[in-house]
């Protein structure tokens, strides 16, 4: 194995370099522009950078290469996760068309790009160092992004996220240190060493590592931060966080879980908390009156579904977890786009009460929201329906039928919460909430795009067939 960095290595992380370097360009343009760069210049630059990064990543699909001595694995797995991350980031930037102060837009765009870079690094990270590097890059930028709204709630959210997330990073780092102690190496591949399971450091390290992962995935009972942070953060940032942190962390977890040769014992508690999340997240959703909190708890449960697909480390499960993640991205971001369209500067659309009488006021928006909620609840003809059945099939196939049963129970509970919004939108006995009209063509386009994707994914389930061989 060569110890020096080659041209190929740099090529492997070019999408990351584009996204990270693009952030500097955005800042530079802002600096050189008389006063500040207009909002749409920063956003357009940011979206352009992300499109370039996504396009470059797409060209590497199908290639397999271990860059930086196995620190970053290029392959179908990484590319699919990177594309999901890039699409969510573009979407969040589009939502920023009506949020936040003009003069801060360049900074916001740059932070979002850096955060995206971190998540993209996690998608390909295959040793403990790069995992941590990616995670911290993602999180550090997000701490700042949570606070950009300037409302007290936003600042509180940033501080809460900083403190709690750092604690979790501590757990993760401690786990990594112990794993390093057990194996003498930072690569995930070293977890296959024979006789490792006799070493207590392996169990402790693995346990701490998984606690950190569970926190970042907001699995119950490590989810407590997510509703508060989601509630306070600006709406586009919440949309970004809800998908991108999950995507990055899920990629890391999948690599870790699939690297263990006999991981059932170590991973079983993790699948148990995934099961708890499905039930608990959906139960907690019932009591929410704030849409962002509701979607946070929904995210807790949905993360549980995705993790459940990975139970048993089956080849199929991985595909279905990715499929569901992509489906979740579109339906979740679609719901956020509708909330953004109902929001002014004070984010009225984030309150569930803002949906009162929407069916009469703005029937198209109400229909779109209904569609995304139906998708989240797993009704056909949406990708949520097909994703659920694929996950059920994977868990049953892997011998985790109890997870399938919990998934069913959790979904049944979730109905009440999602459909509470339906009732608000369509109940003829209620008086409608005051209308907030925003003209945000980007958000409209985003919502329409999400809806189309959710339907197409149902009938053409594009599960990337060469993902698995490249997981390693």
């Amino acid at each position: 194995m060569p110890n020096f960095i080659t041209h190929e290595d740099w090529l492997a992380i070019t999408p990351l370099l584009i996204a990270g370097g693009g952030a500097l360009i955005v800042l530079l343009v802002d600096l050189l522009w008389p006063k500040h760069a207009p909002r749409y210049v920063s956003l357009a630059l940011g979206i352009g950078v992300l499109l370039a990064a996504g396009a470059f990543a797409a060209t590497t699909y199908g290639r397999s290469y271990d860059a930086f001595n196995g620190g970053f694995m290029l392959g179908g797995f990484a590319v699919v996760f990177q594309e999901i991350i890039v699409v969510s980031a573009i979407f969040s930037l589009a939502l920023f068309g009506t949020f936040g102060r003009d003069d801060r837009m360049a900074g916001i765009t740059a932070l979002l790009l850096w955060s995206t870079t971190g998540a993209m690094l996690m998608a390909g990270a295959a040793n403990l160092m790069t995992i941590f590097l990616g995670l911290e890059l993602l999180s550090l930028a997000l701490y700042c992004l949570c606070g950009v709204a300037g409302r007290p709630a936003s600042q509180e959210s940033a501080l809460k996220y900083l403190i709690l997330s750092s604690t979790a990073s501590g757990f993760l780092l401690f786990g990594m240190a112990l794993l390093f102690g057990a194996t003498g190496s930072v690569t995930l591949a070293s977890l296959t060493l024979p006789g490792l399971t006799a070493n207590p450091l392996y169990w402790m390290g693995g346990g701490f590592f998984l606690v950190g992962i569970a926190f970042k995935l907001s699995l119950m009972p490590f989810h407590v931060w997510s509703p508060d942070v989601y509630e306070g953060a600006p709406l586009p940032v919440t949309a970004f966080m809800s998908v991108v942190t999950k995507a990055g962390t899920l990629a890391v977890f999948a690599r870790f879980a699939y690297a263990l040769p006999h991981g059932e014992k170590l991973l079983l508690p993790f699948f148990v908390i995934a099961g708890i999340s499905m039930i608990g997240g959906n139960l907690a959703m019932l009591a929410q009156t704030d849409l962002k909190r509701l979607l946070a708890y929904s995210g807790v449960a949905q993360a549980g579904y995705m993790v459940a697909a990975l139970a048993g480390a089956s080849a199929l499960g991985m595909r279905y977890a990715i499929y569901y993640l992509a489906a979740y991205m579109f339906m979740n971001l679609g719901a956020f786009a509708i909330a953004a369209l109902l929001s002014g500067e004070r984010e009225e659309g984030a309150q569930i009460a803002a949906f009162r009488g929407l069916g009469q006021r703005q029937p198209l928006l109400a229909a779109a929201m209904s569609f995304f909620l139906l998708a989240l609840a797993g009704f056909p003809p949406t990708a949520g329906f097909l994703g659920k059945i694929l996950i059920l099939a994977a868990t049953v196939n892997a011998g985790y039928a109890w997870l399938a049963a919990l998934l069913i129970a959790g979904t049944a509970i979730s109905l009440y919460a999602y459909f509470k919004i339906f009732r608000l939108m369509y109940d003829p006995h209620d008086s409608p909430a005051p209308a907030v009209r925003t003209s945000a063509p980007l958000a409209y386009a985003g919502a329409a795009f999400c809806a189309v994707c959710v339907i197409i994914m149902t009938f053409y389930p594009l599960t990337p067939s060469n993902v698995l061989p490249l997981v390693k």
């Binding site: 595909r319 659920k388 059945i389 049953v396 049944a412 459909f419 109940d427």
Partner: protein, 458 residues
């Protein structure tokens, strides 16, 4: 062709939402034309209409596979007929919304009845639950009704999904409806339980029926007509095309429970119908009782009983649609559903009373009308299967049916009228046209059940 049958009503329903909210004429015209087209399509080409496209190849093969053949065709026709009549009878202020939802409901159910793949069946099963839910939000006076409908039925949909996934994993393909390969193994009873729960909720079967009386009582009559006449049959259809051919051994294993629940539904429905005073609730509980008889036939797994069940499914669809539409007319005129207040219909509205009488007599199983043929063949089959006592017990609610239906007729048609109400016109032409096809079909099937039986035997 068959895809058109599913997509045309759904597309037409969506387009109708573009009309203004208060629109009343064009929505009904379009709705009737579309429903009539869905009735004519399968008749033009009774053996054709097969559409198949590969959907999944892993973890099991599944196709978007639809066709009409054999019994599906009868249910498709029944559905199209009931939808047509219901749209014609729609007379609410919100007719645009109601017609649109009715069409979407029709499209969803067309998918259920023509699906040749269990996964596609499950997809349309969930899809057909959405329009009634929106209708309940829009029209039901009590909010809990919509929730109860949704939670019960969607829980059923979820167990159906789980059972479908397990079935697909273990048998390798879900593109199987119409075939008969036996599916055995230690998982079979659980997979059957998943399917059976969904079907039992939808039918409904005691004790999973508690969503049903409120839903039927609070939905507008055209909607109830379609739901009670056709949607409730989706569960029975599922038993016949999925549970019986593939999971017969599991069905035999669970048979004691199915027979017991069917008998309880039969008796409970009949006794409760005797005590109700709300006209729609009387018919709703009678429905619980009648459908219990069909479940009994299915549980006996006797070929003769199954044939009877198929005939009775169509017959029940016809008379319950007619009954609910007529009760709707009645409620519109008399402004009450309580039999304690109603009366004197025979003197004031003889045509309406006549139509009501025919439908009610069919419901109590009068020979010469459709209900009788089905009941007779079912009981014969259940006897033949060796279920002497269940068959004997099933006779009790059939006798009780005469009691509650005649009481309903008597209370509504005879006696003094409700005082101090605005004028009560007799059946208008359109109202009459809406129930006439149903009543004619009742007579036809009653006098000449052979046509239907012959089709079913094949």
């Amino acid at each position: 062709m068959v895809l058109l049958l599913i997509l045309l009503p759904i597309a037409a329903g969506s387009v109708l939402f573009a009309l203004p909210r208060g629109e009343r004429l064009w929505s009904r015209v379009i709705g009737c034309v579309v429903a009539a087209a869905t009735f004519a399509l399968p008749l033009l080409d009774p053996n054709g209409g097969d559409f198949s496209a590969r959907w999944l190849s892993r973890p099991f093969t599944a196709s978007l596979h639809f066709s009409w053949s054999g019994f599906s065709l009868w249910l498709v026709l029944l559905l199209a007929l009931c939808t047509f009549c219901a749209i014609l009878a729609t007379n609410a202020a919100q007719s645009r919304t109601m017609v649109a939802l009715l069409l979407m409901l029709e499209g969803g159910m067309m998918g259920v009845f023509t699906a040749r793949d269990i996964l596609a069946f499950a997809l349309f099963w969930d899809l057909m639950l959405i329009p009634p839910f929106f209708a309940l939000i829009e029209w039901a006076p009590h909010r809990e009704t919509a929730w109860r409908f949704l939670i019960y039925n969607f829980s059923g949909g979820l167990t159906l999904l789980l059972a479908t996934a397990a079935f697909g994993i273990l048998s390798g393909s879900t593109d199987v409806i119409g075939g008969t390969h036996q599916f055995a193994g230690s998982w079979a009873p659980w997979i059957f339980a998943g399917f059976a729960f969904a079907f039992a909720v939808k039918t409904p079967l005691w004790p999973l029926h508690t969503w049903m009386p409120n839903t039927y009582a609070e939905l507008p009559p055209p909607f109830v007509a379609v739901i009670s006449a056709v949607q409730s049959k989706a569960g029975l259809y599922g038993f016949i095309v999925i549970a019986l051919p593939f999971l017969r051994s599991a069905l035999v294993e669970w048979r004691w429970l199915l027979v017991a629940l069917a008998l309880v539904s039969l008796l409970y429905g009949a006794f409760v119908a005797l005590t109700q005073t709300d006209t729609k609730r009387i018919v709703a509980y009678s429905s619980l009782s009648h459908l219990g008889l069909i479940v009994l036939a299915i549980a006996s797994a006797n070929p003769v009983a199954i044939q009877g069940a198929l005939v009775y499914i169509v017959a029940h669809g016809l008379f319950s649609a007619a009954l609910f539409l007529i009760l709707g007319y009645l409620e519109e005129r008399e402004e009450t559903r309580s039999v304690l207040k109603l009366g004197g219909l025979g003197a004031v509205n003889p045509k309406l009373a006549g139509a009501f009488t025919i439908a009610a007599l069919a419901a109590l199983g009068l020979p010469g009308l459709a209900g009788f043929a089905g009941e007779l063949v079912i009981l014969t089959g259940v006897f033949r299967a060796g279920y002497f006592w269940p068959a004997l017990i099933a006779l009790v609610p059939i006798v009780l049916a005469s009691a509650y239906m005649l009481r309903l007729l008597q209370d509504v048609i005879n006696g003094p009228q409700v005082a101090a109400l605005p004028r009560r016109p007799d059946l208008t032409v359109i109202e009459a046209l809406a129930v006439a096809p149903l009543l004619a079909a009742l007579l036809l099937v009653g006098i000449y059940p052979h046509a239907l039986l012959a089709a079913v035997m094949r």
